[in-house]
Subunit: 344 residues, 2 copies
Amino acid sequence: MRVLILCGGSGTRLWPISRKKSPKQFAKIFNNESLFQKTIKRNLTLANRFSIIVNELQLPLCQKQVQELGVEEKCDFLIEPVGRNTAPAIALGALHSKKDETLLVLPSDHLIKNQTEYERCVSLASQFASEGNLVTFGIKANYPETGYGYIEADGNAVKSFKEKPDAMTAQKYLDAGNYLWNSGMFCFKASTYLRELENHSPEILTASQKTYDQKLIQSSIITFKLENMNSIPSDSIDYAVMENSQKVKVVPSDIAWTDLGSFDALYTELDHDSNGNTKNDNNIYFQSENNLVLGGKRLIATFNVEDLIIVDSEDALVIGKKGESQNVKKIVEELQKRESHLLI
Amino acid sequence: MRVLILCGGSGTRLWPISRKKSPKQFAKIFNNESLFQKTIKRNLTLANRFSIIVNELQLPLCQKQVQELGVEEKCDFLIEPVGRNTAPAIALGALHSKKDETLLVLPSDHLIKNQTEYERCVSLASQFASEGNLVTFGIKANYPETGYGYIEADGNAVKSFKEKPDAMTAQKYLDAGNYLWNSGMFCFKASTYLRELENHSPEILTASQKTYDQKLIQSSIITFKLENMNSIPSDSIDYAVMENSQKVKVVPSDIAWTDLGSFDALYTELDHDSNGNTKNDNNIYFQSENNLVLGGKRLIATFNVEDLIIVDSEDALVIGKKGESQNVKKIVEELQKRESHLLI
């Protein structure tokens, strides 16, 4: 099996930790490991080859983190000078694979804590994939999240894909029990994906094939040309393939998954001291409780504060209230207005 | 008149802004001016000569700030390799003056906002000084502060000096109306101070005289020798002279004075925007109110927080609750235990 890791994203929900040049998947927030590194480690016993699809801005950081794990010889890097969403990225990865190779397609910025269950789900998905299916992983919803798309499932069959719901609809999905979060993780044979892409979005396949044929190779680094990439229609795998294919299966996955889409989500995943503050022996917490504190190289000291989000980075400092971390986007919007270099 | 500015202190109540190497009097917290610079500017029309008593660690910063004001030719610097409290420091300043010169002795870290009234008080003090008195400035108390000493006054006569009181006694002083805060500002002729020092603490005068006689002179920089300084008994002007002298007068001063002894005190003195946050066009305050925010070169952004103290420095970040800023000392104590370089 080959793992295809999609590193292209650069979300701002965890700004200032997550930036264009150093998006959240490369931030070392868990015991000096990044989510990208955790993604590789999670799959080392499952796969013998990793194709990492990454923006050229992020390549140096990405390579450094691969080297830290000592797995350079298992990895190649597919460099996108510009992102065209997931359908083309996966097409390029599939074209770079052997036809009958099974691909496990993974975002690089998720946290999965139940490794045993994860391996069981991948094994099942791999079996469906070998039978010519496009397999998606559906996460068992445990609250009515409105930020994800949903998959209406019937066992391993997919009845329908659903857009991000409003709060009332999300609650209905949760109550129904057979609606799963669309995780963005997939499993299929390279040939299956390319055939289904040809069936449902042939113009993406054609342009991707041309892009792949004109690639530049430098040992393990494969670089695609900007003018070729620009000619590929930008689309997600969901819209371009999954929602139209008759060959789709879902594996319901209860794997303690999170996409760490906010500082509030991050707080619950980090280790705390007995007062609920983020563990850090350098910091000083005086009469302070339940604070998320992300540093930095500098000492952080607090007194008499609770339920704060404190995020310290080299050039920006964010302090907010827990439970309100969606408002980080308000700060990012203001910085966009200012055309601030702090977003890069 | 000669102004004697005492720059020796390095309090930690405003840590991390206030450090051994860069104590609060040199921090540029008011429109890019330091309290030391404000002290000089406040007296430029009153005095033609400034003697600045400063620790050698702080000399470079002190000189730079004098140069920024363009008043180098009015200043000389008396360098103490080690501090011996105020009585010896003032003795060295007095020995460096002409005998009949009037000295206005000032701490470097106070804020005085009523300049007109300040000038009136100095003028009155100067008149008492010319008549051979030791004059102290007593600040009209407007709340029962327990952190200052008090002067029991009867008009311009001093009935007694009082140690820092407990809360109940402080309230009694406030109610009585004739108890003034001991500000640490003084006015007298050089010869008066030296004579009274001889009367009440002759060993300080003798050792100070020897120290002054063996000084090193490099243009406007007068340096005292460490072994000489070490031989001077360490004592405050209050204990060594004022509390024992019969020649003491007080000038009750209603001059909008503060010694900025805490971040809470600092908050009230800084400019705020319409939401009560410290004015700073670089910062972003989203749904945030009444926060003290002291930067730094870095952007500081907040969301949904109120009544916080946020102090960002090069190598340390402090976040606490307004109204609790005395707990900064708890953080400093912890750093002392760790023998942290962050205190230097």
